[in-house]
Symmetry: C2
Subunit: 149 residues, 2 copies
DNA sequence: TTAAATTAGTTTGAATTCAAACTAATTGGT
DNA sequence: ACCAATTAGTTTGAATTCAAACTAATTTAA
């Protein structure tokens, strides 16, 4: 393998670390903001309820696919949301194996206060980055995922 | 905020998901390969010992900074490596708060077999992606991190 | 039509994670 | 010189994570 190709692989490892750092920063910043309003809502729970805020009634499998968590983790986190009265599971009529997760009224209401806080952190992360640049980074990460499959 | 800027923030969220997916894929692929040789070495432990393979004698704080894990997680993972006879802690002479983590002979030997496996997965992820493209993605993620600080 | 294979979600067990509080050591301010 | 503030790492507790095995339901193959 050429030195050139070696550099790209080296950068891929650095990208992995940078990605971990970015996720860690986002998580801390967002958690800090949420704690002021709802200390019982963790960043992990927010990832799930955030999906429901944008698309109520998703099934567990789809939720797991989007956030890339094991289905047993999804079961655990959804149970936490249910325990907190923020969501409920409804068994599918057509396929009883399927369970759709819907927001409760309380869960919907949380959106009003919490979503703008999380959004603001993402906006801050974006700063002056241009849409074209973000698009290219997204496409590259997706390409790497495809290469791994 | 303009629609344009809204799209970039939306893409930043998608980037977050894609990054989680990529990490999950890397982790599974690498773990599969390692399991054939050393089922006792998890991907998480590999992240740490991998750093030591490239830079023996790092202190715990620096290790934590690079992989973006809480210092208590670093304590836990290093203890696991020590338990497995792969690493040892040496207290710094100049600053007794500091502990450097060195590989044992056994830990060094693991590199020979394991490192190429992990490297191959990264190489596969890179595929035909060019150095310039990877560089741009890395720069963007780093910019987002800076924007969050 | 029946049975095997597959799928969606749950349970279990252990590993990994982080926040908070702690100890011990060093640094900085007076 | 002394003490407060800070730092590096550890401990504790609880949350989160995934792999494996499970149950129940659906799909596929014979």
């Amino acid at each position: 393998m050429t030195k050139h190709a070696g550099n790209t692989t080296e950068m891929a490892m650095e990208l992995g670390w940078a990605m971990s750092e970015m996720k860690s920063c986002l998580r801390q910043k967002i958690q800090e903001k949420i704690n002021g309003y709802d200390p019982d809502l963790s960043f992990e729970l927010l990832e799930i309820i955030g999906l429901l805020w944008r698309s109520d009634g998703m099934n567990q499998q789809d939720i797991g696919r989007i956030v890339s968590k094991d289905k047993s983790s999804i079961t655990y986190l959804i149970s936490c949301l249910v325990e907190r009265g923020l969501a409920k599971r409804i068994t599918g009529k057509k396929d009883k194996r399927n369970k759709q997760v819907f927001l409760t009224e309380k869960g919907r209401q949380k959106r009003e206060m919490i979503f703008p806080l999380a959004l603001a952190v993402y906006q801050r992360a974006v700063g002056t980055i241009k849409e074209k640049e973000m698009q290219q980074a997204l496409a590259l990460v997706k390409k790497m995922i495809i290469n791994l499959e």
